[in-house]
């Protein structure tokens, strides 16, 4: 009886173009809205995972391999698989529902989440989130 679809929860997208990708919930709308009368949430996820970085890589190669490509999307709860992991990255100021209205706002939001994800990846924390789900 504990609510678990809360911000900072790591989830896996199950349907759509981003099926199989890991994402983090930024904002959840349990009751739904006028346009979407079902429970859904705004997620920020990884479109392209960073590659495996090895010790013998040069700095330039490490930088290239640590790149993360992101997406921002409104997803129905039914199309998500929640996990027991969380990702404490503050994305509330960067990603908002109005960012999905126009293309350039969306691109700006994705760019900002890309920076946050990349710096989190470089610290080596939340390793599960940045590894590709094999299926």
């Amino acid at each position: 009886m504990v609510k678990f679809l809360k911000p900072n929860k790591a989830v896996i997208v199950l349907q759509g173009r981003y099926a199989g990708r890991k994402a983090v919930i930024v904002k959840s709308f349990d009751e739904g809205t006028r346009d979407r009368p079902y429970g859904h949430c705004l997620v920020a996820g990884i479109k392209k995972y960073p590659s495996k970085v090895i010790r013998k890589d040069s700095a330039k190669k490490t930088a290239k391999k640590s790149r993360v490509k992101c997406f921002v999307k409104l997803v129905n709860y039914q199309h998500l698989m929640p996990t027991r992991y969380t990702l404490d990255v503050d994305l509330k100021d960067v990603v908002a529902v109005d960012a999905l209205q126009t293309k350039d706002k969306k691109v700006a939001a994705c760019k900002a989440t890309k920076e946050r994800f990349e710096e989190r990846f470089k610290t080596g924390k939340n390793r599960w989130f940045f590894t590709k789900l094999r299926f």
Binding site: M1, V2, L5, D30, G39, Y77, P82, R84
Partner: protein, 112 residues
């Protein structure tokens, strides 16, 4: 092997409690609504039939783990569970939302 052998007595008592919930409480039947009740944290006890496909069973157990809700593995298949609910169809999983007069929530959840 005492734990593995489910006595007839406890099995009947579950059926009785379930019948009481059907009469006086709120419940939902079926996989989709069970997940919905778990997501909205309305479910208080989940009952899964023994012939539920293992992937589906694990998925419901995982959601219940996140929710901290008890799961009871019913000693019978979906046909039996449907009959226990007083329905004429098969029920693979069900979620109890309000137990009503029944004490099923207090007496069952210890068991996995």
């Amino acid at each position: 092997m005492v734990a593995a052998k489910k006595t007839k007595k406890t099995h009947e008592s579950i059926n009785n409690r379930l019948a009481l919930v059907m009469k006086s409480g709120k419940y939902t039947l079926g996989y989709k609504t069970v997940l919905k009740s778990l997501r909205s944290s309305k479910g208080k006890l989940i009952i899964i039939a023994n012939n539920c496909p293992p992937l589906r069973k694990s998925e419901i157990e995982y959601y219940a783990m996140l929710c901290k809700v008890g799961v009871h593995h019913y000693n019978g298949n979906n046909v039996d569970l449907g009959t226990a609910c007083g329905k004429y169809f098969r029920v693979c999983c069900l979620s109890i939302i309000e137990p009503g007069d029944s004490d099923i929530i207090k007496s069952m959840p210890g068991d996995h």
